[in-house]
Amino acid sequence: MICIVCPLGCELEVETGREPKQIVRIKGSRCFKGKEYAAREVTDPRRVLMAVAKVRDGHLPVVSVKTDRPIPKQMLREAVKAISKIEIDAPVKAGDIVIENLLGTGARVVATNNVGKAISILTVK
């Protein structure tokens, strides 16, 4: 596998033992983060998810969001569907919590950009 932690992309090799998910050795990483990544990838692969959520009355129709921690890899597509169902009101500030507990994973979905309220240019004073 190729490590995805940093742009170096070291080629990692994980030796597993007789028991399922028992790790014997990790070869090829140039830092400790790579070893951690490889160990977790074999036992419980997770990814940070990024997507967009709909915004009501904002100057843009969506705001970019991300999970505040990695979630199980196999839940990614279901998670995207869950995020596409919600709609939040403008204004949105980067860091605002959009979903408190994503699909029971404990991960929060937070906004990563600011979206202000749309200013109508047709307002009559």
């Binding site: 190729i2 940070v48 600011n114």
Partner: protein, 418 residues
């Protein structure tokens, strides 16, 4: 016509421009003006919703918009004057003046400055530039256009997608489309290796089961009103087309990720010396172009792998711009060319003095393993496990190392070990 005076004028409010403007104020420039053609600052960052930004520059792993907000808030607190929705039309550099004429919401404005930093970023190549002929059906987008559509406006380019080009932007969009439920049928790459970082091939393609067709070329887009298929054939190692290998892949959307080209037309028209290898301006170690007191940084100077490099280049340009303004004139440096040796396709800066520490950015022509990066005139030898064109080379040469320089030039080369 409105006239605006400044000490430092920065064109482009992406990573390089925001960093440059803040640095200029930090170093004491009285008036710093930052111009951008878009309505919002941040350049391309607000649509890069994936993490991986700022690991070096801010020691944090942020998404593109978060990184842009950080840099933008800093320009605000430092008192940079930000002017949006302004398109620069001309750079007039003669008789010591540095004037940028731009169209702004208030009409045509002349921005007169003591130094100008071009941080205008790069544009994408489109399908016509890579020789794909045919009708012009709906459903053909560059990777950046698809990203704008999806990540700023929440739209969906299509359902059955083929990506042409395996550079990082194409890989990122392949993943993004797959996450939103599209069927990404293939990423087609002409060369025998991917144009992006290995980690992106892993996390964008392998992780999602998206097939990567190396040594394959897209030749025709089929469909009259909407894309209905794409024609692909095999190519050899010298990119020669292999007859009889053509096949059609049905799809309704084609994403073109054919590379980035620096936006430096104004500099070229103003007479700056260009480097055909980088398709940008040639600069000295101060990141100054051949037009005195006009600098370039970020993707406008060289297509960078990491946003951190763009920000650092912006700061370097700002530091040197301030120095030049303060000292009025530098003691005349004799600029020595940086010659490209074996397996070096491009290198920045193109000229050095040998009297200052210099950070170099470059790319190789061919992938190689177990090599040395050498600068023979000063005996520099850096071991590299693996070099390939999509992975930028960066290295710094200190004043002390330059002390050994006796020649009128330096050569940068990649040589095999042993």
């Amino acid at each position: 016509m409105k006239k605006v005076l400044s000490d430092v004028l920065v064109l482009g409010s992406g990573a390089a421009g925001l960093a440059a403007a803040s640095k200029a104020r930090e170093l004491g420039a009285l008036k710093v003006v930052l111009l951008d053609e878009k309505e919002e600052p941040g350049g391309v960052l607000p649509q890069c919703i994936h993490p991986g930004f700022g690991l070096h520059y801010l020691k944090e792993d942020l998404t593109g918009p978060e990184f842009a907000i950080r840099l933008y808030e800093r320009t605000g607190s430092l008192g940079v004057k930000v002017v949006n929705s302004s398109y620069a039309m001309d750079l007039l550099a003669c008789k010591g003046k540095r004037v940028v004429r731009a169209v702004t919401p208030e009409g045509i404005t002349e921005f007169r400055s003591r130094a100008v930093i071009f941080a205008t970023g790069a544009r994408e190549r489109n399908s016509f530039e890579i020789g794909i002929a045919g009708h012009r059906p709906a459903g053909v987008y560059t990777a950046g256009e698809a990203q704008t559509m999806m990540d700023l406006y929440g739209g969906m380019p299509g359902q059955e997608v083929v990506v042409i080009g395996s550079g990082d932007v194409g890989l990122i969009m392949a993943r993004r489309l797959a996450l939103q439920g599209a069927n990404v049928k293939a990423v087609v790459e002409m060369l025998p290796y991917s144009g992006g970082l290995a980690r992106n091939v892993q996390q964008c393609l392998f992780d999602f089961g998206i097939p990567l067709y190396l040594s394959h070329k897209a030749t025709k887009i089929l469909g009259r009103r909407r894309v209905r298929a794409i024609e692909i054939l095999k190519v050899g190692d010298r990119l020669e087309e292999k007859l009889g290998t053509a096949f059609e892949m049905r799809c309704d959307t084609v994403i073109v990720s054919a590379g980035l080209v620096p936006r430096v037309e104004l500099l070229e028209r103003a007479g700056a010396c260009m480097d055909p290898a980088t398709r940008s301006v040639a600069v000295n170690e101060l990141l100054e172009t051949s037009v005195p007191r006009v600098f370039a940084a970020g993707n406008a100077l060289i297509i960078n792998d990491l946003v951190d490099y763009a920000a650092i280049q912006g700061e370097t340009a700002a530091k040197n711009a301030i120095n030049l303004i303060r000292n009025r004139r530098f003691p005349s440096d004799r600029w020595k060319p940086v010659v490209k040796g074996r397996n070096i396709r491009l290198i920045v800066p193109q000229y050095i003095s040998g009297r200052r520490e210099v950070s170099f950015y470059g790319r190789v022509m061919q992938p190689e393993e177990n090599v040395y990066l050498k600068v023979p005139e000063i005996g520099v030898e850096l071991r590299q496990l693996r070099v390939k064109p999509p992975e930028m080379l960066t290295f710094t040469i200190t004043c002390r190392k330059f002390g050994k320089l006796k020649e009128d030039k330096i050569t940068v080369a990649v040589e095999p070990r042993g």
